[in-house]
Assembly symmetry: none
């Protein structure tokens, strides 16, 4: 299967404005690209790329005063397989977790574990450990939070989403991540594209999606408490402790977002 994906973002700045963009597909997916996803800007500005501490490719630029259009339009191969389900994936005791997973047990900007720990243990402490415990958490979060774009708020933490019971995909992910960490299961945030391949068409305008990965049985598995069922065609962009680490764009100065288009469509041979 091939998927065409991309975005068109337009920002208007009043002064030269540094930006950091995390918009390229994740390094683990570059070899699936059929058409490159290089970021284009109009007007042209110098770009510098670097990899952040998680390995994500980030782009630095300085937007000039006026409008800058940032876009990409790429094609990627995909297995067409839904997210794997491995019901017997076991949970690691803390003492046997690999060192590099330990940072994903800590609290982070939007995953305020310390505020949720008591509830997490009382609610999920009896669920069978491992895959089923993570799935129990996802089921809870999926039912607990009401989805609505109007509930999006850049400052919303997991505990706020828990209390308000409203949010968007990233809030679902943050809450589930926080619960997993409370229960000593490493969990990390993922951002990327997720189209509606294999499911009824969603008429809402597309956005980037947020989901998460939990560390079970020696590897990381995808979970998506917003949709809460295996999906086809995820295109990972970046991973981090939470959405604070993998913002699509960080702008260092006043600006207006004048256009925001994202697309992800299966390529149907003529």
């Amino acid at each position: 299967m091939q998927i065409r994906f991309g975005y068109e973002l337009a920002y208007r700045c009043t002064q030269p404005t540094p930006m950091i963009l995390t918009l390229n597909v994740h390094y683990t997916r570059t070899s699936d690209l059929v058409r490159r996803d290089d970021l284009r800007t109009a007007p042209h500005v110098p770009l510098t790329m670097y990899r952040d501490g998680f390995g994500n490719w980030c782009t630095r630029l300085v937007a000039p005063p006026g409008q800058i259009l940032i876009s990409a339009d790429a094609v990627i191969r995909d297995s067409g397989e839904p997210d794997p389900v491995v019901r017997d994936a076991p949970q690691h005791p803390v003492e046997s977790l690999p060192e590099e997973t330990l940072v994903y047990l800590l609290g982070s900007r939007y995953c305020d574990t310390d505020n949720l720990s008591a509830f997490a243990w009382s609610q999920f402490g009896q669920a069978p450990p491992g895959w089923q415990r993570v799935q129990t958490i996802c089921n809870f979060v999926h039912n607990h939070i009401q989805f609505g774009y109007q509930y999006a708020r850049p400052t919303k933490t997991a505990s706020e989403a828990f209390n308000e019971r409203q949010g968007v995909c990233r809030d679902y992910a943050h809450l589930a991540i926080a619960f997993c960490r409370c229960l000593n299961i490493p969990a990390r945030y993922c951002t990327g594209y997720l189209g509606d391949i294999g499911i009824p068409h969603n008429p809402d305008p597309m956005d980037f999606a947020g989901w998460f990965e939990a560390y079970l049985g020696g590897r990381w598995y995808t979970f998506d408490p917003r949709n809460n069922k295996p999906r086809i065609g995820r295109i990972l962009i970046a991973r981090g402790r939470d959405a604070a680490d993998v913002a699509i764009s960080m702008t260092f100065g006043p600006n207006t977002l004048e256009r925001f288009l994202v697309w992800t469509d299966e390529v149907i041979a003529a």
Copy 2:
């Protein structure tokens, strides 16, 4: 000058309890050790060390049921010099910040920059950039927050400290860090020992201290908004994005902290 420092912590656990301890002096100070700061436990348990993503030394162990005593008692050489003051240290424009500093512009668990950005710009945006802007922030934080151990709360964020106007050293540091990041100055949290060398003796029981570093003119400088004056005899343990990254101890199971002693004293030759 030589400083004797150490700690004695006693935990009581009801079951085997994994712990991660960040208690060794920072690798930048190992050269100064006159007597090693190796962590001892009673009863003896196997220890595993690793470096976290910031380079800090961490120790993993599994505490047995019952009490475990964790201690060190070391001696370190110190320059006896107060924290440097470099009033003309300039601020980097965002676009010229080295890549490794960019993560210290992001929000983090206790430094919720997005909640403080508007205030930060209105309050500090006119202060001369560079050292003076950071010092202006420290002066504000020093005066804004009332110190009191009774105000300590593990979940307190910078914006909560800002609104409640009460806290301990880590809250001062978190608030100043958040303001610096809002103003595009990389800032990172430090934890360590800080005695009362050169100042009137403080009768309160000692605790570990929190301060921060800001990136100005190509290097990191120490700032301490709690004390807000150059101090002698800081002994760095660890650095991170905020206190969530450098907790002295993380315990993965129910436990009681039965003893908590910290000391830092100048060694006076007989």
Copy 3:
């Protein structure tokens, strides 16, 4: 200004032969593409792309027995500006170089700094540091080496070029890079297209060009000791430690290069 550029390479292999090609324009120039530079092959074979450690796009394929034609024909916008000259760009002391530049101080396959260090210091150690020192190096290299395609040799190192005093553009670049590194100035190799825009037409068949970048005053600047004057219309393909990192093609098996055409021409509106 618009520039049409591309290539046509034909290889004949006797068996299925893996290849790695570094032929796409650099990600920093994708925004400028008016017509894409996608690599085409005849016969058609599956292509896989990846980014190497420097961020360059590379393409993997397996050439079938017989001839394979590999080509692209693209159009790119260009500022029409010559390479910038910033005579007061300062040199960083080693201790203030950003971490990501340090690898460009080390020796590499074709830049054998250890063989050239003594000469470099005696010859260039008194030149004013910064831009002028790099320019002094370029002047020396430009005059020291006699250009000639017949002097090209894939194994030629900087010290060999220095001793033989003959070479092609990549040898000029390697020697200047090695001298810069000896003098603690980070320098990296660039490969790309360079036409004869703004200069007398060169009747030789075109080839890809090699030049280099030096890190001065917080950014990377283009230098070209072969031509040794600012040029218009460089189209960067890839950057690395030296030509070993950015070979246009690597073939893993016996083959014959049957055709090799490269073009770079200003598009003149009718």
Copy 4:
């Protein structure tokens, strides 16, 4: 088994001299440390650590005029197992090598593959692919080169070692690496400690050791053409393309090495 290891290096500089040291044990071994290997300096100087592009921990400092003593004295747990031998580890066809291994097929400063390719294919092209081919290369190199400290030369390449037939452990490693790469087997250089555990005591003063790893059957295996038999107690410090990437020390200014001691001894319980 526990191994005590460390070093004592003394440099004399005439002016403030930046240094980069790659002396800490590799991040994959930190969790085996029983006593930390932090670098100590006398006099005390500020230290900064960073991880290079290969993940190795590096230390930056500026040595003052006069002598600087750099040392560590650590203890590490070791399995006591000899290097594994997996005779049926298969060779990957180039087209199925993971992307991150491809850089270890390229030529590098001391592994000048292009000068050795013809010989490599004629000599080793008929050996059974995979483990046996790498072992055949090691056997050849082991017998081809005569060991002698007097043959050490910092500029010696693999092809020079091949022609001169004399060298030290790093020359053995460089030559074997170059042959492996010629034959499309990814190979990378390793530096570390290697004592004489389990073999007759070697009266020569100890040095750091160089060996290499080859990528076979989906993982990296240790080979040591200098000793050419499985050994016990290797303590890895760093990995790179060749010795140019993992120099124990790089000094940016004139200096004299006044002391050089390295030790690696099994800890025998009293």
